[in-house]
Amino acid sequence: MSNQNVTEAENSHQGNAAEAVAGIDPDGLSALEAVATSHEASTGAADHSEGGISEHLDHAVTVREVFQIPVGNSTIPITETVVVSWVIMAVLIIVAKIFTKKLETFPGKVQNFIEAVVDGINSLCKDILGHHWKHFSAYFGTVILFLGIANTIALLEIPWLKPPTKNINVTAALAIMTILLVLGSQIRFKKVSGMIKSWFEPNPIMFPFHLMDYIIRPLSLCLRLFGNIFGAFIMMELVIIASQKLLLPPIFSLYFDIFDGLLQAFVFVFLSMLYVGEAIE
């Protein structure tokens, strides 16, 4: 509640102090501090007091609702995470449409680059999945491109473009998709009988562990991606507060946004491939 009011005060640039004071919860900051926070935030500088930083972080990690889609009696809330995901999807689709329009036998610079990316994904699939790679490379390519852009999108420095993977729901959905793919490919390539047989290999004692794999693997995939991106996001916020946007953020951003983001995108897809490869071998 207090958070919302501080947000409003920040949004109106010359934050109306009286409004901010009225909205403060008794257990929150003292009214004076809150006014200072909202005022300082509106002038672009962060507050150095302890309460200021925690308020700032709280404000930064809150996922806000953008609009609602009415369905019958209830409504589906659409958060900014979903909107950013849609933007990334739209960009990916448009880029794919534009750059594959005129494919030529002797590729130009752009087509060369696109071919290199696709070829890299395909050869990674071939390495891990063997001769079934063709069924999976499209899906894994899509996921790695989406995650690669989603994890590094904070580089654009547009306030509402926060990495969607810092929301645990996104990574949970991706992890569930991976484990469904594992189950589906097991049934497709080994049939149900082969799948059940594989649970009792190398000996029946392993049965509960094989079942636990279906829960632990998506859980760790989900938490790994979420933890890394969320941790990096908070670190970047702290660096920005500490350095007052001078010099340090680009240096730290090299590690936290670019290196960590791309590495985690790769690791997510790599582990998914390993799980699928193990399921169909």
Partner: protein, 74 residues
């Protein structure tokens, strides 16, 4: 608030194990590449896999401490 922060700090100590583990793994990988430079590709892939798995413990600690900081809130 102070005890919440303390709890979060203790939870994030799991990073210790991951740091040691990744350090050992990277050291061994360096040795392996020095001994057999032609296998560098395969070694790098295995290293990344191992790092991702051992890093998971640190991430669990981080997630728990984030939960303590932002959900429990003391």
């Amino acid at each position: 608030m102070s005890f919440t922060a303390l709890g979060a700090a203790i939870a994030v100590l799991t990073g210790l194990g991951a740091g040691i583990g990744i350090g050992i793994a990277t050291g061994k990988a360096t040795e392996a590449v020095a001994r057999q430079p032609e296998a560098a590709n395969q070694i790098t892939k295995t290293l990344i896999l191992g790092m991702a798995l051992s890093e998971a413990t640190a991430i669990y600690g981080l997630v728990v401490s984030i939960l303590i900081m932002f959900v429990v809130k003391g």
